[in-house]
């Protein structure tokens, strides 16, 4: 049976040496903090964009993401109520 090709042996050698440090880096507190920061900044940026565009969209009589979300929440609440009624049915 033929062994691994040369390129694969070279790849495995590099990968086996790099995997440990890369994993340690990815699992470090610094990366954890960066991910946390990224999630928070992205969320705040989205809220800010929504806040700033809301008035403009409403002036043009257009629904905003917040409006759609509220409607969607109401539909979901209705669905849940229907389910509860359905569950109570003998």
């Amino acid at each position: 049976m033929a062994g691994k090709p040369l390129w694969r042996k070279a790849f495995d050698a590099v990968e086996s040496r790099a995997a440990g440090p890369v994993e340690a880096g990815a699992h470090s507190d610094v990366v954890g903090d960066l991910i946390t920061l990224n999630v928070r900044v992205a969320r705040r940026a989205q809220q800010e964009v929504e806040r700033r565009t809301r008035r403009l969209l409403h002036m043009a009589n257009l629904p905003t993401a917040t409006d759609v979300r509220r409607l969607s929440e109401q539909v979901a609440a209705l669905q849940r109520e229907l389910r509860e009624l359905d569950d109570r049915r003998p």
Binding site: P5, V75, R83
Partner: protein, 360 residues
């Protein structure tokens, strides 16, 4: 000095390489175009129970040798077709071939309406109702409950909270109980880092990409290694079928219902409540010691998602006199899919279930 090669060997080697290059080109094109994706989850089945998004599937089997049916409880964050990938690589088909009567509890894909689903919803309602439906469909009085990954946690809690349930045996695959040993995947939501609310999106659920990225972070170089495997085996049709099926499954997560996620983070991750004996559902402590039926704890030695140490304590936590362990040299998904599963894991599981069940 390098060994000399006979001309006939050299010719056959060149011939093989040319053939493989042609197969590589063909498979590469098919892979890029997405025209050769295997059809997944094709084992014939019937839906025997349905509640909201959850369904209980009963797989057809004309040759049942073990009367006690097996109810598989799948995880909340991934697709259940990993248990039934394609012919020749299907845990469900293997169990059917061994003469088992197989049911699978699939939770479906949660949406906004399911964001309020608590763990109690699954533990106190979903699993007990599905067990009753399985008993009715199979015409039996007991089942073997087989939980996979987080489905194992749900099964464990259901068996503990409801000793009256007709569970003859409890088998758990890659089921975490000690969440402190899952530091990497839970690190971001531990105390002082992200609050569960920051991960939950406006639909009220944790989006699948958050879960997928969490898994990806566990082994950041794995994706590159997978591409190397792909290039090396691109000529191999059998490899390509498995690669595409597993690749699709690994990228196909489902949203985690927000309410269940909050409970998981607060109790299981932050307080390690299953180990501390402080886990509460419905305002009551979950006493794993109340589980007295035979338990099989199946663990994968190379599982990077649920490490051995996270699953190991199960046998000490349950109150069963007959609590066994099955350690297998496999990864998380390798327990149920792939060549090793068919050769090692699944025969072990099927054998234990058959030995502890009523024969047909």
């Amino acid at each position: 000095m390098s060994p000399s090669i006979a001309p006939a060997d050299l010719l056959s080697r060149v011939q093989r390489d040319v053939e493989r290059a042609a197969q590589r080109g063909r498979n590469g094109l098919r892979y890029a175009a997405g025209t050769s994706r295997p059809k997944l989850g094709q084992t014939p089945k019937d839906v025997v129970w349905r509640r909201h998004k959850a369904e209980l599937w009963h797989y057809r089997n004309d040759d049942i040798k073990v009367r006690t049916p097996v109810v598989i409880v799948h995880s909340l964050v991934s697709r259940s077709y990993v248990l039934d990938l394609y012919p020749g690589n299907s845990a469900v088909a293997f169990l059917l071939k061994e003469g088992l009567d197989v049911f699978l509890l699939d939770w479906g894909v949660p949406d906004e309406a399911d964001s309020g689903n608590t763990l109690e919803h699954y533990v106190d309602e979903g699993i007990p109702d599905a067990i009753a439906a399985a008993c009715e469909a199979a015409g039996t009085e007991e089942v073997t409950l087989l939980g996979y990954c987080f489905g194992g946690v749900l099964s464990l809690c259901s068996a503990a909270r409801h000793p009256e349930l007709p569970i003859r045996n409890l088998a758990l695959m890659a089921t975490p109980v000690d969440f402190t040993k899952m530091e990497t995947i839970t690190a971001l939501v531990r105390e002082g880092r992200l609050d569960p609310e920051e991960v939950v999106e406006p639909t009220g659920n944790v989006p699948p990409d958050v879960i997928e990225n969490g898994f990806r972070l566990l082994k950041p170089t794995a994706e590159v290694a997978q591409y190397a495997n792909l290039w090396e085996n691109l000529w191999n049709d059998e490899f390509m079928e498995g690669y595409q099926a597993m690749g699709q499954w690994a990228r196909d997560h489902v949203p985690f219902p927000g309410a269940a996620f909050r409970q998981t983070v607060e109790q299981l991750v932050r307080n390690n409540a299953l180990m501390e004996g402080t886990f509460e559902l419905g305002g009551e402590l979950v006493d794993l010691g109340a589980i007295r039926r035979p338990v099989l704890n199946i663990m994968a030695e190379r599982d990077h998602i649920v490490p051995l140490a996270a699953a190991e304590p199960i046998v000490d936590l349950v109150g069963s006199e007959e609590a066994e362990e099955l350690r297998l040299s496999a990864g998380h998904a390798g327990l149920v899919a792939g060549r090793k599963a068919a050769k090692i894991t699944l025969p072990g599981i099927a054998g234990w279930i058959a030995d502890h069940s009523e024969k047909a």
